[in-house]
Symmetry: C2
Subunit: 267 residues, 2 copies
């Protein structure tokens, strides 16, 4: 269905705008992704938005045409509106000319097939949406199976996290679990849990990584709780040559993930 919206107080506009807040996303089970590039990534991964919202007067683009066709074919809505209303929806002064509405995915741990990939990323209590999206993007780059979020992480369906993932939110398996649920699940089958640590750790280069390998990073300011580190199969140290003793969490995860990748590819 196609329609046009011109009023700021239109209920659809209010609904879409409300999804900037986590509580509304959770109540509705929906989230927004902005920009033709992100929506094309979604489409190529088989994720078609339920609603496509476009600015009137945008530049024509064959990828946008393809997206429109797929949305309509899937029974979704195509909504044309003004740039001002798009700004209101996305909360940005210069919004992308198009955004899409999606249902949140299943994020249960039981949906994770650990044997589908040699490498998985795990983030514990990650609070920064940019870091979380970056972890998803890195997971995609290293050919990981997905990202498992432990404990109280920031919402991966926030606009900031979706944007920072550069489309990887649509291609990577995403799961959310408490540690108490994750650890028994991990131990029920093969799986090596690895984290950077200072406790009885071996150098990260040349460490005996083995797939399926779960690379875990901790909260941005607290790091991992001690018992999480102690539960790891492998603790590794990375050189810290400066005054500080840590890296940005998403950076540490990426450096480690690339090292695991090189080891597994060589093996």
């Amino acid at each position: 269905m196609r329609r046009s919206i011109t009023g700021f107080s239109n209920p659809t506009v209010k609904f879409l705008k409300s999804l900037r807040e986590k509580k509304h996303r959770k109540r509705e089970g929906k989230f927004l992704a902005e920009g033709l590039r992100l929506l094309t990534d979604a489409r190529e991964s088989g994720r078609i938005p339920e609603m496509l919202v476009m600015a009137q007067g945008r530049d024509p683009h064959p990828l946008l045409d393809a997206l429109e066709r797929d949305v309509l074919a899937a029974g979704g809505e195509v909504v044309e509106t003004s740039e001002d209303i798009l700004s209101k929806i996305t909360g940005k002064d210069n919004p992308q000319a198009v955004c899409g509405l999606f249902s949140e995915f299943d994020t249960s741990l039981s949906g994770v097939d650990r044997h589908a990939a040699p490498l998985w990323l795990v983030a514990q209590a990650m609070r920064d949406p940019g870091n979380l999206g970056t972890m998803l993007r890195t997971a995609d780059a290293v050919g990981a199976g997905g990202l498992i979020l432990l404990d109280d992480c920031v919402d991966p369906f926030s606009v900031e996290a979706v944007r920072a993932s550069m489309g990887a939110i649509f291609t990577q398996k995403l799961a959310m679990a408490r540690w108490e649920e994750f650890l028994p699940w991990l131990r029920a089958d093969a799986g090596q849990l690895v984290a950077a640590s200072l406790r009885e750790a071996v150098p990260y280069r040349g460490a005996p990584y083995a797939g399926p390998c779960f690379v875990m990073v901790g909260n941005e300011s607290q790091g991992l709780p001690e018992d999480y580190e102690l539960a790891c199969d492998l603790r590794v140290t990375m050189p810290m040559k400066g005054r500080a003793d840590s890296l940005n969490a998403a950076v540490a995860g990426a450096v480690l993930a690339y090292e695991v990748l090189a080891t597994l590819d060589a093996g």
Copy 2:
């Protein structure tokens, strides 16, 4: 000098608050850093704030006492104020209980002694303050000499960049230059310019890195201009196993920097 400020309209409050905007920072040549940890990093690097602003009723702390002593000994000001006023200054709902005022550093390229370290990071047109701060933090971790910002980068003295640097803004040499200035400077002495690229590139692992090695990353959405890539002494590829063809800029710089570090340390 010690004093207490209770009014929101106090000129010092207005002045400090104005530093959240780049134009005011540039006019005054000053910036703010928040939090006892960051200020202690600064102090241990020999950078004493010109003014220390503290919330009344904060928890006592020996590091804060030491900071106060050093500020007063250096002829600076210690200002006590309310939490509400600190919130107003920093623009955060839950501000750190202390913040410090600093003069911006010299960021001229001529201040860079390339032989002081085997590794340097270079960021071109980096737009995200979190990425920029993260690059500084990574530079510290890998024992780099500093970060060179090329072309139109986001301001490294913004609160967000300073915070993301986790103190590395005080320990790493920071320089800013246009490409037209940087390239002749680089070529005037030894120095290997390295970037991730898809043009006639060799695998990033085992590439012939040599110090002083300058690891360069490009703008978040555009990457590096072609002629910048072509000017590199070494172009390397990193595995991209997913659907996307790139990493977050700060992540790419870190993975590459750790690889360079491992090569130089082994050599």
